[in-house]
């Protein structure tokens, strides 16, 4: 990586990894597949872009094995925008992660949207300088990922559907389980840790703080300004929008609108303003119509 002014400080610490996610709070991270889309996202005020070859809706439609993107495509997007760039590695594929880190990507998403490379282990994320974000459907899963070194969590939702119901379910579950831990007495936390299948120390930390030790975004099926605002009202620190923007009728308008609604998430007048005249939303799929083996949120454990 070209760094013309780097100093002799300590890099890759937990604090700089988790702190990076803190700086993304209140923002929208958009999936982009080329330079043109990356620029639209940046111009709309996206906080970061996720560089990938196919958005989840296309992965779903085309099937087959979904893998890390071509490094050249990731390089081009890094060159094209000044905001942070994220990229996805397959669950458990630590070499894809090594490659993505070497490209100078700012955050790696170990993502269920790609086909898992290991059905038992996730990546040992402590071994990397670059921070990781991982998906979770519940608190136990989130804490297992944090224990493996994830510096940011996103609730999974069901990617590529435009159906927000799973995103709602997952953020509610995670937030609800955190509230439950906070109300427990200290001697009940041992069993809580067992039930959550999560490390006891992390369970205690969450119980005491009433929050995850890392930033919590939400993802999977967010397609409208109101969807994004609802995630924020449910307590998300920010949102990922995948297929919802560039699979819609007017991506520029919709990207701007979702950013604006995320900023003013608690102001219905502003959300209404942002929702006007956006054209066609992405054609959705009801999660209930997807056979269970094809649901991406089931990947990861």
């Amino acid at each position: 990586m070209a760094t013309d002014a780097a100093s002799t400080g300590v890099t890759g610490t937990t604090r700089v990894k988790r702190g990076m996610a803190d700086m993304l709070k209140g923002g929208v991270i958009m999936d982009v597949v080329n330079v043109e889309q990356a620029k639209i996202a940046e111009d709309a005020g996206a906080i970061a872009v996720m560089a990938l070859e196919r958005v989840p809706a296309d992965i779903r439609a085309q099937g087959g094995v979904a893998r890390m993107s071509d490094p050249t495509m990731i390089d081009e997007i890094i060159q094209a925008v000044s905001i942070p760039v994220m990229a996805k590695a397959r669950i458990g594929h630590f070499v894809e992660a090594q490659v993505i880190q070497s490209l100078g990507v700012d955050y790696i998403d170990e993502s269920e949207v790609l086909t898992p490379a290991d059905y038992i282990n996730h990546i040992d994320k402590w071994a990397f300088t670059v921070p990781f974000v991982c998906g979770a459907t519940n608190l136990g899963e989130a804490l297992r990922r944090i224990n493996e070194g994830a510096a940011m969590i996103r609730s999974k939702g069901e990617a590529g559907t435009g159906d927000v119901s799973n995103a709602t379910g997952h953020i509610r579950t995670i937030k609800g389980e955190i509230r439950r831990l906070s109300s427990m007495s200290k001697d009940e936390l041992y069993v809580a840790a067992k039930e959550l299948q999560a490390p006891y120390d992390l369970v205690c930390e969450v119980a005491e703080k009433g929050a995850l030790p890392v930033v919590l975004f939400t993802a999977g099926g967010i397609a409208t300004p109101a969807d994004a605002a609802m995630m924020m009202q449910l307590g998300a620190d920010g949102v990922f929008v995948g297929s919802g923007i560039f699979k819609s009728g007017d991506p520029v308008k919709r990207a701007n609108a979702i950013v604006q609604a995320t900023l003013h998430f608690d102001n219905p007048d502003e959300i209404a303003k942002a929702s006007r005249g956006l054209g066609e939303a992405m054609v959705g799929i009801n999660v209930a119509d997807i056979p269970v083996p094809h649901r991406l949120a089931e990947r990861g454990w």
């Binding site: 990586m1 300590v10 700089v16 803190d22 700086m23 709070k25 990507v105 670059v130 604006q260 900023l263």
Partner: protein
């Protein structure tokens, strides 16, 4: 009476700044609109993504009131906030607007990408001993500053890979800025320095 200090809440680590300020016995107000700027005695511009902050400040008509206010009340910017208070930016987007007021040129992402983000102990005379543990995340650098600008902290030449002092904290009158993020550490001295500025303004 405690002064009301605003935290610009467009995006970024707003909550962390608010928490630091609350520990120093000031009233905190999160600011998203021009209306909410009224009556504050100081303003903090948090860390985050300066591009996003700037674009959203334009869309939400905040630059006018913010520029007016910068001549009236103390402001403190960390990281992205430093860029927002800089008169000019190098390596920014061509159309990136700032509040300005600090006669400095800020270089965005001056230390590299996220893998180059780092922590380092800095000697900061204005806040006294011991050294301050500073956290830099995709941080900007003060590339140039006019003589009106007081340098509060620099990474000394013997610790910087460029072999020259790298200016990372500045003050000019009522405005101050740091490249690093005091809000994500537990050392409140930088915030205390700013709150003292507000109290004595």
């Amino acid at each position: 009476m405690s002064p009301v200090i605003g935290v610009l809440a467009i995006q970024g680590d707003v909550r962390e700044h608010a928490r630091c300020l609350e520990q120093l016995d000031v009233d905190v107000r999160l600011v998203k609109t021009a209306e909410q700027l009224k009556g504050i005695a100081g303003l903090v511009i948090p860390g985050g993504e300066s591009t996003t902050m700037s674009i959203l400040a334009v869309k939400n008509n905040l630059f006018g009131p913010l520029r007016e206010l910068r001549n009236q009340i103390p402001m403190y910017g960390s990281c992205a906030g430093l860029i927002m208070l800089a008169d000019s930016i190098s390596d920014g987007r061509a159309d990136q607007e700032t509040i300005g007021g600090l006669n400095i040129t800020a270089k965005r992402n001056a230390f590299g990408r996220q893998v180059d983000s780092f922590e380092i102990d800095l000697h900061i005379p204005a806040i006294g001993e011991p050294d301050y543990h500073a956290v830099f995340i995709r941080a900007p650098l003060v590339e140039a500053a006019s003589s009106a600008v007081e340098v509060l902290a620099a990474i000394p030449a013997d610790k910087s890979l460029t072999g020259t002092d790298q200016v990372v904290a500045v003050r000019q009158g009522n405005l101050m800025a740091t490249s690093f993020h005091p809000e994500i550490t537990s050392d409140l001295r930088i915030h205390k320095y700013f709150v003292d500025m507000v109290r004595s303004a």
